[in-house]
Symmetry: D2
Subunit: 417 residues, 4 copies
């Protein structure tokens, strides 16, 4: 096992650990850990809500999830010699649930969860259809996930970190705050909100205290969105064996990570979230000095996925176009067309006996593919969602004999908003 | 060879063939061809501009492309016994360039093209960056494509029909026309237009003549967008071996197809288009009676991709978020985030010596993957584009030694708008 | 379509064609066709028995197959500039059944066959268990094969040439004849024979006539075995997109090919054979001058398989060791251990209702994998055979509920030896 | 982490552990561990030589390897309710190097080895060409292996147990001993030996002591060969996610496992061995009562490989036929033809600068594929070996420019026999 440079004790809260991480982005959060280019090391990661979500059959915890406190991140980790303008190479050597612990109260101890927020808490991709809070518990057995809330489904997880990134510079942070504030200002009372402004309430900033804490907490960006530093990209393909190249904006790069997922479908459409868990990452880092300019990579992370993803050969695919459910034609709206594709898949799965929310949860958690198939055929974009047929223990393909009917069982816990 | 139920003679214009197809959607275009469930048959397809685009080094033909005349489609083909409410099964047994003809003036005779329209003609996915008309010619050798306009690149084509679908009912057609007219009305003078209304100019409607022609031409929907009947979905994964299930809206289903692509990247971002060609399709059809209700498939085509797509194991991926180039924050706009991902890829490839338009053309034609990676992390969606590294004959990965520099050669023909 | 340099008219016998090929290896068979490095061209290929095997329900034709007349090969094709010591690059751009002909009396016209010889004619891999002659007819639909003789099975063909190679030098030919004669001499009356000596009876040698024919026919090697020139390798992975490098032993290389297979399992265990058919190959050739020495490739063909093989993700595998059915322990005999693995698979499939010969035929024709898993663990080698589960239209996996029983239907035609 | 039912302390010898395993097969070795159908549990495994092979640059340890003491196996584990005639289902949920230990003197602590025995100790697949003892050390980083003894190569390991199986019945054991003794008797003084008879010297038999130990030790079968109970199959595809079905010959099944490999090429041609390591396995077991008869699985293990194997898309392949290096023609000898294919690959790789033994070691350790391509084309069988081109950090394909030359570095440690 590589040296654990950022350890977490499962018996303790995130803020009570020997090294305390953070849940906001800011260049001035101190790096309490330092590594060198070429180093291999292990980082423990806490599930994003630090244990607020439980392995039970109620969605009350999702309804009341402490949104100000996410995502609890491991880091920042300073990489010796990293300077603004470099590219930071991060190899994901391994990633998985909490090692040596397969039962316990923390997601990652042999289980994980997929949630959907109530609309007032942020909702999900299909919040108009699913306005309440919902939760599904998944059990891990090796690399396979099953759920007592969704019968007839099991799949090989596509394990990855939902969130990893470098610290922004002061200038970049100002840019983020300005552009997001401008968006919020267009509809400040919207539910769900358009974006999340800095919020000192619930902020965790490593070992910062006192006035410095207050200053940083007032400016620090929330971790929900992906941005130029990578961040909460929720890219399901950042699996074991992947190599990521991050722009470096500050001395030492200040790398942080968290929000581990046992599995996720493209889009993380359930928002809260994929299959959430705590766990560990084994990383190797290196630098390409001046690489941002050399390779033209200055405002996004680029990456090479690994070669041990779960392999499926047969898929059932659904398409959607950019027409709303009310029949309104939108112009090349790929977000909408992906929603329609997902809704079509949900309609279909219901014919096999699943409830609508069970079908939604499958799309959020299983390694489905979501593709931007057509983006130019005015006025309709065309998005497609691909479900591996082998994740069902019955034949899910259309045929002249009609759909096999499953027993939906106890179904998905819901908490009315 | 299966029986050719819809033949095309490469020496003749589309309108001079023994059986004349169509380039508009309307339930009253007569089906001049009839097949039975269980039949296997061959259909010839003309490239979508019926030969207006030439194998040369000028983009003038793209600049002056006759947009009113697309897409020339083979069909409608009536399927005996098909009734509204059924699902029509279409198996794509084979699809390829014009058989037995590997040289000649028609795209599909051993070559194909990728074009980008000038903005006033519809532009492309990145029309703000690329406002003129551009064209690239690709040569086919077996299943491999190379271009004299883009050195250092070759790839296995992912051959598929860009467009296939059933005829709309009168009611569905009215819905289309109404919702698209409403969209156009929001900005009727926009360049490029928001949508294309019915246009009798250039309409081809099989053997309709006289008043009936005029009536249908005035109502018939344009073929550019994908809609509830499938249509111009431009899904690169509808390759050989795929099975598609189309809703049936009219007696006989009235299946039509065309717009064959030798290859395409997800999104067909170049618009005009993938690698365009004429060719053939070998099809098998069958019916699931009442399948629309049985499977909840009433307003989209669903499908199962084939298992002989080109296989690549190493990818270089770029992400984008929903922030405009001007720095404006948009709310969960996956269309924009895919644009930004593509632009990031173009920035990167330029560091290897490609011009920006060469890089754009690669993304349009090669079998790249475009994924909706994150669609909920307010306010930023995250889209990703994956390029197979093996399509380049040099090492395209980032490294400490810096990028290999190619000679871009003569480059991409352009016609100033 | 590339230029057809070696045409075949399906209405005529192999020996009545405008250009006549050959069915023996000899350096002095004239090359009636010439191509240049860089050329792309098409070659027609006749099925290996030149039409002696019929699309019917009798195995009499297999029992009486004219073994002296195989394999009818297309060629030799001289490659301009090729000299002994070069490596000949052959790209398989495309390969398939007889183009534009999907019905007729020739294998390759929409159908193909798998046969097993009676023991006295050469038998097959499992001739002790299957001593008679057997035949199965497969129908092609696109790239899919099904058989009226084997219900419940369909698969995507892995199309390839069973035989391709360059001409031997006189010296190499002498080596072949000497070493094979020495083997035959160890048991000259064995049934089946240990090897096949030169045999003028039935020899076809291009346009050779008279004394020269007699001289060459007396020396020319039979085409059954693979040898240093490639030849009848029956490698199922030489599919579309493959690049092969052949040693060049004579001026012009004298490339020949034939024995096309619509599909085959590793080993071609049924011997007569895979799914046999006539068809076409589109080829591109080039040279690496002096490549035999440069790359140490002097007595075998090396190759790079294509990337569009049929893709399966779930396999059921059987192992075997080098113990005979009579319980005799052999020393590291991988041939025997593969026989035992295949017999184990046949035992298993019979529990689902297949006859033993049906199961054998599936292993011969479907794209199964045969691997040399362990070759050092004295005294037992371990071979394994992998069957894709998706080729069955029922669940073929073991489970607590027991095997699904199929109706074996009319079964496999047999002709008693 | 599942409960560890068979723990190993890395600080102690195999025989000093709390629960002592075994290194011979016999039905009377007591099962000190018991599990139930449905259980999930962890087993620690020691590397097969119990630490006798060191992480250094000498091959003396291989030369003097204590062959009588292998393989140290974890078990037997009794499965409640298992009776002769059942099939034991074993799911390999996870398998990997020693958890939480990435440095230390034991193979599996961050490193592993590939060895080749001297001929007198058993040799390897190519012992005529490589008569001495050789050793290569591999370093693990995540799932990737590299070696200081073989520059320019790195690959994703295909982790699996080399050995797993159930206990034989008394009758089956007698059969083994009789048939192997008969083989040995044909050439009792052969070097290397034809097989290994029972040998009390070095036997480890769990907690057996005294007379019972002596009785069992005198009868117990050696673990080198695979047999009807599975055993040392060295199947590289028994990776994470695999499901294996073993025949049950004794009450409780008595499952044992060991000989973990970080990676291996088909055949384990280096014999000593793949990339050897200690580590852990997470297993789930279940029963199919009476399954041996129901499924016709009575004398071999059958299995379904997992779906997360390393994925490579481009391969360079070499073929071989059953002609000896001395030019003697053998009859359909797939063992020989695989040797020739491997030797051809070794010849080729030497042209790039590798020594012959470096090339041999690559074939033994990297995830190469070995296939029985043709097994019927008398007199030559055809075997093929496929090397993934991506494991080299240079272009290993043949081209007109000739091979890239690597610096072979310090090379492979050898100990003269």
């Amino acid at each position: 096992m590589p040296e654990v440079v950022f350890p977490l004790d499962s018996q303790k809260k995130f803020t009570e650990q020997r090294i305390v991480g953070h849940n906001r982005w800011h260049p001035d959060i101190p790096a309490l850990v330092q590594v060198k280019p070429g180093d291999v090391f292990r980082v423990h990661c806490r599930e994003w809500f630090d244990g607020a979500i439980h392995n039970d059959d109620s969605a009350d915890d999702i309804l009341n999830a402490p949104l100000n406190q996410v995502h609890v991140l491991s880091g920042p980790i300073a990489v010796q010699g990293a300077e603004p303008g470099d590219l930071l190479i991060v190899d994901i050597l391994d990633v998985g649930p909490i090692p040596q612990e397969d039962s316990g109260p923390l997601a990652g101890q042999g289980w994980g969860y997929t949630g959907v927020f109530a609309t007032r808490n942020g909702g999900g991709f299909l919040t108009e259809q699913f306005p309440d809070a919902y939760k599904v518990i998944w059990d891990f057995r090796g690399q396979t996930a099953t759920s007592r809330h969704i019968p007839g489904v099991s799949f090989t997880g596509i394990v990855h970190p939902g969130l990893m990134g470098t610290a922004p510079s002061h200038e970049l942070l100002r840019t983020w705050n300005a552009r997001e504030a401008a968006l919020i200002a267009t509809d400040p009372d919207r539910v769900p909100p358009l974006a999340l402004p800095p919020n000192p309430d619930g902020a965790i900033l490593g070992n910062l205290r006192g006035e410095e804490f207050d200053r940083v907490a007032a400016e620090a960006a929330r971790t929900a969105p992906p941005r130029e530093n990578g961040g909460n990209q929720d890219i399901k393909n950042l699996t074991k064996g992947s190599r990521v190249f991050y722009p470096v904006f500050v001395e030492g790069a200040k790398l942080s990570m968290g929000d581990l997922h046992f599995s996720q479908g493209d889009g993380e459409i359930t928002f809260c979230g994929a299959i959430e868990m705590g766990g560990f990452m084994d990383l190797h880092v290196d630098l390409i000095k001046g690489g941002m300019e050399t390779y033209g990579v200055s405002e996004n992370a680029i990456f090479m996925p690994g070669n041990v993803d779960p392999r499926y050969d047969q898929w059932l695919a659904f398409s959607g176009t950019s027409v709303t459910l009310d029949g309104e034609q939108r112009y090349l709206d790929s977000h909408l067309s992906y929603q329609r594709a997902c809704l079509h898949a949900i309609d279909y799965l219901q014919k096999f006996g699943y409830s609508d929310i069970q079908a939604y949860m499958i799309l959020g958690a299983a390694p489905i593919e979501g593709r931007l198939s057509g983006v130019v055929d005015i006025p309709n974009s065309c998005s497609t969602v691909y479900i591996p047929t082998a994740i069902f223990d019955f034949d899910v393909r259309p045929s002249a004999t009609g759909p096999h009917k499953i027993d939906p069982g106890q179904g998905v816990p819901v908490a009315k908003a």
